[in-house]
């Protein structure tokens, strides 16, 4: 394959990954890594390096619109960012202690359970905000205009402690399992904290770039972020994220949620496979 053909193929995949990532609050690694390794024969280390670039590109590309549209809840994002980065730091020390096999299997179950819960949607009693003094103190509540529903959506955040705990865990295990925090944090915000689906994916997008930036620095200095692989990934994902972030407002929340259920099911099967092979 010529470098030109490689660049064009990667660019096409990356645009898709950017749209998908911006809509669901994920970094796009789930698409970029298999496409590069299985489809284009790129070494796994370079593919992971490129996927870190993809996470940052999705995050910054999408958040530029989401912040302005009030879809991304910045205060909630910054709060959960703090616990997830501390989690990531502790995850590195956990790596030597825990057996990855069991962790994969436990996670396969957790993701399958989350998929079922996401399919059912937030429970009615959860939708009526429980009082949460911590959320009041930190002023986490939000509102945004939803073009698809044609109305202003006002929501109150609850379950702040639960959210902090889950983001800590998400930070800790993502390094060990090789998955991003999005698949864990979006359901946690939506099902556990009373954040509407669109605000949850937009807030996740806002956050994921920060966690990825620290690892990106390390990957770059190790020479694992290679210009010829990362350039089409960055350019494509940025373009895709700009498209995706304009699409999110117009799509119905239910569609986004169903797409998310499929991703969770896929991750669950993947984790199960890794734990049993």
């Amino acid at each position: 394959m010529t470098p030109l053909a490689f660049t064009l193929c990667t660019l096409a995949v990356a645009i898709g990954a950017g749209v998908f990532g911006a809509l669901l609050g994920l970094g796009g690694g789930i698409i970029v890594i298999p496409a590069l390794t299985l489809g284009l024969g790129v070494d796994i280390r370079l593919a992971i390096g490129a996927s870190i670039v993809s996470v940052i590109a999705t995050s910054s590309g999408a958040a530029a619109s989401y912040v302005r549209a009030h879809l991304a809840n910045m205060r909630l994002g910054m709060l959960l960012e703090a616990s997830t980065t501390i989690g990531a730091l502790s995850g590195a020390t956990l790596a030597g202690i825990l057996s990855p096999r069991w962790l994969y299997l436990v996670f396969a179950v957790v993701m399958a359970y989350t998929a079922v819960e996401m399919l059912r949607g937030p429970q009615e009693e959860r939708l009526q905000a429980r009082p949460d003094p911590m959320a009041d103190y930190l002023r986490l509540h939000g509102s945004y205009f939803d073009p698809a529903a044609g109305k202003q959506v006002v929501y109150r955040v609850s379950g702040t402690k639960f959210g902090l705990g889950v983001s800590f865990l998400a930070g800790a295990v993502s390094g060990l399992l090789g998955i991003g925090g999005g698949p864990i944090k979006v359901p946690a915000m939506h099902l556990g904290m009373g954040v509407p689906m669109k605000a949850a994916t937009a807030t996740s997008n806002f956050m994921i770039g920060v966690t990825a930036a620290a690892s990106a620095g390390v990957y770059f200095s190790r020479g694992e972020i290679v210009p010829f692989v990362a350039a089409p990934v960055a350019a494509g994902v940025l373009t895709g994220a700009l498209i995706g972030s304009r699409l999110l407002g117009r799509l119905h929340s239910r569609r986004i949620r169903m797409l998310f259920v499929l991703v969770l099911a896929y991750i669950s099967v993947q984790m199960f496979w890794r734990g049993t092979h």
Partner: protein, 137 residues
Amino acid sequence: MTTVSPSELARRDEDAARLEERISNLLRLGVAASLALVVTGTFVSFVRHPEYLVVPQPPGWPSSPAFASASTVSGVVAGVRQLQGRAIVDLGLLLLIAIPVVRVLLAIVEYFRQGDWAYVCLTTLVLAVLILSFYAG
């Protein structure tokens, strides 16, 4: 919950709007500059190495040293001075990586100006952990 006066609420809304505006502008500007560098660098590579357009490379070619990253800031700067395409791409990628970190810095400064101490602490904590994990990694 303590009661908040209407003027205080209005000030909070203004502060929040300004922070959103600034962060959104930073992200747009950063993304545009990074995209421009990455695309320019790729074009420069193809113009300076026309064989990349037609000559097929062996499998796994991105791993070969001819396509390696400069991997240090000084290496990237030296490459950019020689107008190397891949160094220009690297510069764009470094800029992209820096955006989230600058975003955290900007948030610290803004929350400090607003006197929102809880969020000054939170965002400073994030920055500290980022720096720590970069050196730990």
